[in-house]
């Protein structure tokens, strides 16, 4: 598709460049050459599925850090980091009342980098809640929810709820006193709803109190259902940011 812009003089550097970026294999993976010319820089963004979340050019004011403080991006970064560390944790963790606590203990003591992975997962989860709240505040105070971005704000509110639920369902998994009682307090609040309170609590716990059924439900929600939903809504969110004409700016 794209042809490389080959430098006219072929000194040593150019030959090296060709060797790395103009060979058959590189070109089969990345359609463009190395992004060192405006043309290739645009092509690399447009043809790479990950970079393609971005437009190829954006308004000058939006690359200023003080416009977004990278907060939406950081929230997404936390989500990705949580996915990676979460997958690693899943190798060692079995969501049964008999094993859960011992598995976490083993992770902390017997598994190489186990406690690092667990700590990272925990702190990133906290960080994500903080960044999502700050992101919401930055969107609010820059008036970026105004037309035509009304719906993306609503998608954002859904993402905020999903973030809280992801964190809440993960909280039970270590099956220690902190986890058990926090979820007991939390689900008791759900149970106090005037309509369908007891029913929703039962649905969430798979019983009347926190036990083996609750553990497996929270686990399933935490590792598959909610991340999937969050990923879907994030896809919509990012798509809409682009469809609504990039980030908001004065008319």
């Amino acid at each position: 598709m794209a042809t490389a812009e080959r430098p006219p003089a072929r000194g040593f550097n150019e030959q090296l460049y060709d060797l790395f970026f103009n060979n058959y294999i590189w070109k089969s993976i990345f359609r463009s050459g190395y992004p060192n010319t405006p043309r290739n820089q645009m092509l690399v963004v447009a043809t790479n599925v990950f970079l393609h979340l971005h437009p190829t050019r954006i308004h000058r004011t939006h690359v200023k850090i003080t416009h977004t403080y990278c907060l939406g991006g950081l929230t997404f970064f936390m989500f990705l980091g949580l996915t990676v560390t979460g997958v690693l944790l899943m190798f060692y963790y079995v969501p049964s009342v008999e094993r859960a606590y011992a598995d976490i203990q083993a992770l902390e003591t017997n598994v190489r980098f186990g406690s690092l992975m667990r700590n990272l997962h925990r702190w990133m989860a906290h960080a994500m809640i903080i960044t999502v709240l700050l992101h919401m505040m930055r969107v609010f105070y820059t008036g970026a929810y105004k037309p035509p971005r009304e719906f993306n704000w609503v998608v954002g509110v859904i993402l905020f709820i999903l973030t809280l639920l992801l964190s809440f369902t993960g909280y039970l998994l270590p099956w220690d006193q902190l986890a058990f009682w926090a979820i007991t307090v939390g689900t008791t609040m759900v149970g106090s709803a005037p309509i369908l309170g007891d029913e929703s609590k039962f649905l969430l716990l798979g019983g009347f109190s926190v036990g083996p059924n609750a553990l497996i439900r929270f686990y399933t929600l935490h590792v598959i259902a909610l991340p999937l939903l969050a990923a879907i809504f994030m896809a919509v969110h990012f798509w809409r940011v682009r469809r609504d004409g990039g980030l908001a700016r004065p008319l």
Partner: protein, 300 residues
């Protein structure tokens, strides 16, 4: 599709084009640097600070205080001041709906995409946050009977009256629940004709006085309804409304819906933070107000 995109790009005014920069390198660079920075600092944090792991879960030993995860402590804090259904479910549901509805209410598309777009937005933010901050703290102090304790200590401490105690006549003003528990509601009963009104405030008779012998009873405990539902809900709606009216008519800072939104959102954010922080740092055994260093968790 592609043609349309290209056509749209070409239609864009030339000036605008010049205001644009390439995503690679300008944006990708910033993203890369912040990803590296955050990866490094999170790894360092995780090397030095371990995630908590207490004893294995034991349904028979309840830690006191038992707390929800920190991001739900705002709701758990509300729970101490009102009926659980309001605090745990109705209030958060309504808040999320209102939050999602903001753009459908504040529809003008002026002042978008710049920080603090309207003329008064900075002062509205500071003012809204200030009122939310101190207002919420004050309400929590009131409902924690701290004003009683402090008044007693100050009057005793100044030597005005060494045995001073909170006056019995003001018992109802100790905290919200005192309205229910410290007033003898039966004394407030009265009769209209031969119809005995409110002899028992725990069930409100409905029906026109004098028309029926045996009125239908509304099974509503009025004193508790007053202190746990009516007043808390009226406060949550009333105070923001008062704040709005005062800011609009007395201060004259509000010119648009955007201004109102900024004021109320700022107040909400401050309240949210105060409730979370109080729940996290200032609630000890039996959810009593405590200084952070006095909080111990006992298992019972």
């Amino acid at each position: 599709m592609a043609e349309r995109v290209v056509a749209a790009l070409q239609r864009r005014p030339r000036r605008e084009r010049e205001e644009e920069v390439l995503v690679w390198p300008d944006l990708v660079f910033v993203e890369f640097i912040s990803a590296v920075l955050f990866t490094v600092s999170l790894v360092v944090l995780s090397v030095f600070i371990n995630a908590p792991l207490l004893n294995r879960a034991d349904p028979d030993t309840t830690p006191n205080p038992s707390k929800a995860p920190w991001y739900f402590l705002n709701l758990q804090e509300l729970l101490l001041h009102m009926e659980p259904a309001w605090a745990g479910v109705i209030v958060p549901t309504i808040l999320l709906i209102v939050l999602a509805a903001v753009p459908y209410w504040d529809r003008s598309n002026e002042q978008q995409g710049v920080w603090f777009g309207t003329a008064n937005s900075v002062r509205l933010t500071i003012w809204g946050m200030g009122v939310g901050l101190f207002g919420t703290i004050w309400l929590i102090i009131y409902d924690g009977q701290k004003h009683v304790e402090w008044t007693e200590n100050i009057i005793r401490g100044l030597g005005l009256n060494r045995d001073f105690t909170w006056p019995g006549g003001l018992d109802w003003a100790r905290d919200l629940r005192s309205l229910d528990t410290r007033i003898n509601w039966d004394d407030l009963s009265f009769t209209i004709g031969d119809f005995k009104m409110f002899q028992d405030w725990r069930a409100i008779p409905l029906g026109i006085p004098g028309t029926t012998e045996d009125p239908w009873l509304l099974n509503l405990n009025f004193p508790s309804f007053l202190s746990q539902q009516l007043i808390p809900v009226a406060t949550m709606i009333g105070l923001p409304v008062l704040l709005y009216l005062f800011t609009r008519h007395k201060l004259g800072w509000i010119y648009s819906r955007r201004d109102t939104a900024i004021l109320i959102f700022s107040g909400f954010i401050a309240t949210y933070i105060v409730l979370t922080a109080v729940g996290q740092f200032f609630r000890g055994e039996a959810q009593e107000l405590r200084a952070p260093w006095d909080i111990v968790v006992v298992e019972e």
